[in-house]
Amino acid sequence: MEEKKDKTGLLREVLDGAAGLAGSYAATLTHLFRRPVTEQYPEYKRPMPARTRGRIILTRSPDGKERCVACYLCSGACPVNCISMQSEEGPDGRRRAAWFRINFARCIYCGLCEEACPTLALQLTPEFAFCKDAIEDFVYEKEDLLVDHGGKDPDYDFYAHAGVAAGRPKGEHIGEDEPVDVKSILP
């Protein structure tokens, strides 16, 4: 403190300050002559990485059936509560969504639903530009969300792993033993 008040200290401070000012003016000046880095969006569309978080789809398993089992995990994970659905038992005995609705006007594209989805049904796609004139049009129903492919993970089939006998009998899922014979008297 004491030194700062003496003459050389003050002078140095002034010079330092002036140099600082000059430095920042110089820095901005050099920027003035650089090429802007902005991408001109509608003319140039940057290819998005596959895992970009944009519009959500419901994919299908390799056998072409709906993957979503209406487990409510995505709607439970969604921080803005924009997914709603009703589960039911389908004709093939599989659990599925009677209806499934995402309100994209509310979605913040955080991807938590995708992380929560245990069947890899729900996936975010790189599509981010889908404007509408009316806010109601952002409410997508199951038929709008459902696609006919497996998205990023085309090979996974939840029902091949699960133990329930929906489509596949007991004991025929991956990594399962024959069903126990309850009436056997063998040791």
Partner: protein, 785 residues
């Protein structure tokens, strides 16, 4: 009273308490799968391992198997114990299917919770998973045996606690299977509890299958309105629809469980037939129009014939709030009523039954489980009050003598003595067993000269009851006079509706009963009637028959009863799930049921199975109904009446703010009225009509719950004693035509020695309400092909 230290905190618990329960009293929840407070320990799952550092037991032990003892020092988070528990979960998961997303337990699954909280995420075990074939266990329980972790809770509950044997463990070693010998509906009327106690998704609730996750449901404590016991329940509602009812722990009433009637009869609230719109002369209209019309019509009657020409009828199924509001409305208008009971005798009987409870003689359901002798007088436990059967079983397991003196055939999952006696014989039988001295053989023969087959049983019972230190008399209100003066005997009346006690407390002693009102209508004295949550046909056939003589009939209800169809003005009310309300159970205990479902047409129906309409401006459909008490107030306003602000505290001595979570006993009981005359033998030769409840669909609400109705027997059954059947020339299994008034009902005949001589047991259904007190061959006839 052992003193011990758990996780550094001292605690003193009653002798015999397992360490896991002692920890719970400190708020420390030790992981467990097989231990259950009601079922005790099995030591099957090894999940509750904790470290005993000091005291009589040392080392890693199962906290559910070790009773608390002096000087114990227990650490629940000891690294060794934590590792042990983590390994247990990993072992359990070795065979557990990859099912959580499609499993209905997910979200409230104990196994899921422990697996996730223990951090088990990666499968290290390379072997294959064990699988089982599932069974169809009937309409209530879904079986998915792969998920079982062999905790034996289901078997212990089903076989030991409830006493039914058709479901249980089979096989040995790695093949243990929990199921029935063959697919088929579970026989126990308490089977729904399996879904609650199974800690995994092996046994789940079938009616609620694939409907919702627990976290999406609104949940609120409720009270079961399907019999007079008032078991504590939790109602779960989602998308404006009650989707499940579960047992709630109320140590004073139902303990941890409820019966299947209480669990599966909730469908009336969301049923498609439920009237949700006001009607004027049968034409749907708006609430305000209907209310105005009700006001004008009733006002017209008052103007033309005076206030005495309007009467109010309530029922034993309304909440205390509604019953109080009806009373206030009637008082404000100077109208007659409200009448809550079919006739004066019934009202007096219920009042007498409650009066008898004064002086600390009331027993709760839990206390019946601790009694050493129980006599059920005119009560068929499994049908009149199903959870009573479970309490009786607990008493019997502890060695109590149980006798059921009732004209109807009785089945109970416990050793008991059935005394099938016609109603007029019941007082005599009661006197034999409730005296201070054991009745001797001579007295027994004198009292029941015509039933020699019962003498030996009574001779066995009499000394047991005389010697009992803590006997309980369970009785129907008609037999209130038989409540013994002997103070040893605890008393437990079983009443005719969820809030029958409330009705008896609220009703004036000299209030007219339905039959009186019917007489007044016939005489042209009453011209306008307000029927609030009451079905005239079920309550009093005479009143139902008199309804056409009215000038105006205003019905407030949420059930599509015949009275709803007859209404001139109909005003829809909310159910207990929607408005909430206080019910007073058979032991005069007031309990509050909180509102849980928002009123309105369920989303499922609104969307016709698909997604609900995407219309933000629309009024939600079906939201017209109001609480009946509020409708009374609006009606009073409409008619310019000054309705007094009345709280049910005025009738029960307990205000709404004093109702404790486990219920609070009414402090104002009726002053001992003249006890009703005991049932007398019918004049002439007829058979006394005795009405019997079924487990499902005979209670006021269950009749309108689709799921409960689906469980009701397809054909009505009339039961007779073999002698009486022979006297009528009828044989077992014969098709009958029963004449009720001018209608004929088809039924089948069941003949059994378990029916009292001289009694005809018929179902308690509104259609049968018109039968006279005694019937003969002209009523019961073989059906002509």
């Amino acid at each position: 009273m052992p003193d011990l230290i758990i996780d550094g905190r001292p605690v003193r618990v009653p002798k015999g308490t397992p360490v896991i329960a002692a920890a719970e009293s400190l708020g420390i929840v030790i992981p467990r799968f097989c231990w259950h407070p009601a079922l005790g320990a099995a030591g099957a799952c090894r999940m509750c391992a904790v470290m005993f550092l000091d005291g009589p037991v040392k080392g890693l032990e199962m906290s559910c198997m070790v009773p608390a003892a002096d000087g114990m020092v227990v650490e629940t988070f000891h690294p060794e114990a934590v590792t042990f528990r983590r390994r247990v979960v990993e072992l359990l998961m070795a065979n557990h299917p990859h099912d959580c997303p499609v499993c209905d337990e997910g979200g409230h699954c104990l196994l899921q919770d422990e697996t996730i909280s223990g951090g088990h995420a990666l499968r290290r075990f390379p072997g294959r998973k064990r699988t089982y074939l599932d069974q169809d266990l009937g309409p209530f329980i879904q079986h998915e045996m792969n998920r079982c972790i062999h905790c034996y809770r289901c078997a212990r509950f089903y076989q030991e606690y409830c006493g039914y044997l058709d479901f249980g463990p089979m096989q040995n070693a790695n093949r243990v299977y929990f199921g029935r010998f063959a697919s088929g509906p579970l026989e126990s009327p308490f089977s729904g509890n399996l879904a609650d106690i199974c800690p995994t998704g092996t046994l789940t609730d079938k009616p609620g299958r694939y409907k919702s996750r627990r976290w999406d449901c609104q949940r609120a404590p409720s009270v079961c309105p399907h019999c007079s016991l008032g078991c504590a329940t939790v109602a779960l509602s989602r998308y404006r629809e009650v989707v499940r009812v579960e047992a709630r722990e109320n140590p004073a009433v139902n303990g941890h469980f409820i019966c299947d009637r209480g669990r599966y009869s909730f469908g009336y609230a969301a049923s498609a037939e439920r009237p949700r719109q006001a009607r004027a002369d049968g034409v749907p209209t708006s609430m305000s129009t209907a209310l105005a019309l009700a006001g004008t019509r009733l006002g017209g009657v008052v103007e033309a014939f005076g206030p005495e020409a309007v009467a109010v009828v309530g029922s034993a199924r309304s909440s205390l709030e509604t019953q109080t509001a009806l009373t206030a409305l009637a008082r404000a208008g100077g109208w007659r009523g409200p009448a809550f009971f079919a006739d004066r005798t019934e009202q007096q009987a219920v009042a007498a039954a409650l009066a008898a409870l004064a002086g600390g003689r009331a027993r709760s359901l839990a206390e019946i489980g601790q009694a050493d002798a129980v006599l059920c007088l005119g009560v068929s436990p499994l049908h009149d009050a199903p959870m009573l059967a479970l309490s009786l079983r607990q008493a019997a397991r502890a060695g109590a003598v149980v006798a059921v003196a009732d004209p109807r055939p009785a089945t109970l999952p416990l050793p008991f003595t059935h005394l099938p006696l016609a109603p007029d014989k019941l007082p005599g039988a009661a006197a034999l067993l409730t005296g201070a001295e054991a009745a001797d053989a001579a007295a027994i023969q004198r009292a029941l000269p015509l039933s020699p087959e019962l003498w030996p049983a009574l001779e066995r019972l009499a000394p047991a009851f005389a010697a009992a230190g803590n006997p309980v008399l369970v009785f129907a209100p008609a037999l209130a006079a038989q409540a013994p003066a002997d103070a040893r005997f605890g008393l437990f009346p079983v009443l005719c509706g969820p809030n029958a006690a409330g009705a008896a407390l609220v009703a004036d002693a000299d209030a007219p009963a339905c039959d009186d009102l019917a007489r007044a209508i016939e005489a042209g004295e009453v011209k306008g009637l307000v029927l609030a949550e009451a079905d005239a046909a079920a309550l009093s056939p005479r009143l139902a028959a008199a309804l056409p003589g009215l000038e105006t009939l205003v019905v407030l209800d949420h059930l599509p009863t015949p009275s709803f169809a007859a209404a001139k003005v109909f005003l829809p009310t909310q159910t207990l799930f929607e408005s909430g309300g206080t019910l007073c159970n058979n032991e005069a205990r007031l309990q509050y049921a909180a509102p849980v479902a928002p009123p309105g047409e369920p989303v499922s129906r609104d969307g016709r199975g698909g997604h609900p309409p995407r219309d933000y401006a629309r009024k939600l459909p079906g939201t017209d109904p109001l609480p009946a008490a509020a409708l009374c107030a609006v009606l009073a306003l409409e008619m310019g009446l000054d309705m007094p602000a009345l709280s049910f505290a005025a009738f029960t001595g307990v205000g709404p703010e004093d109702v404790a979570p486990e219920g609070t006993r009414a402090t104002r009981l009726p002053a001992a009225p003249t006890a009703p005359a005991p049932p007398s033998a019918p004049p002439g030769q007829g058979l006394v009509v005795v009405r019997d409840d079924a487990l499902f669909a005979t209670d006021a609400y269950g009749r309108y719950a689709p799921l409960a109705r689906a469980q009701a027997p397809a054909a009505s059954v009339v039961r007779l004693h073999p002698d009486d059947a022979a006297g009528l020339g009828l044989a077992d299994g014969e098709a009958l035509t029963v004449t009720v008034g001018d209608r004929r009902i088809e039924a089948t005949l069941a003949v059994s020695a378990a029916v009292a001589r001289g009694a005809a047991v018929v179902p308690r259904l509104p259609g049968w309400a018109g039968l006279p007190a005694a019937i003969g061959p002209e009523t019961l006839r073989r059906r002509q092909p």
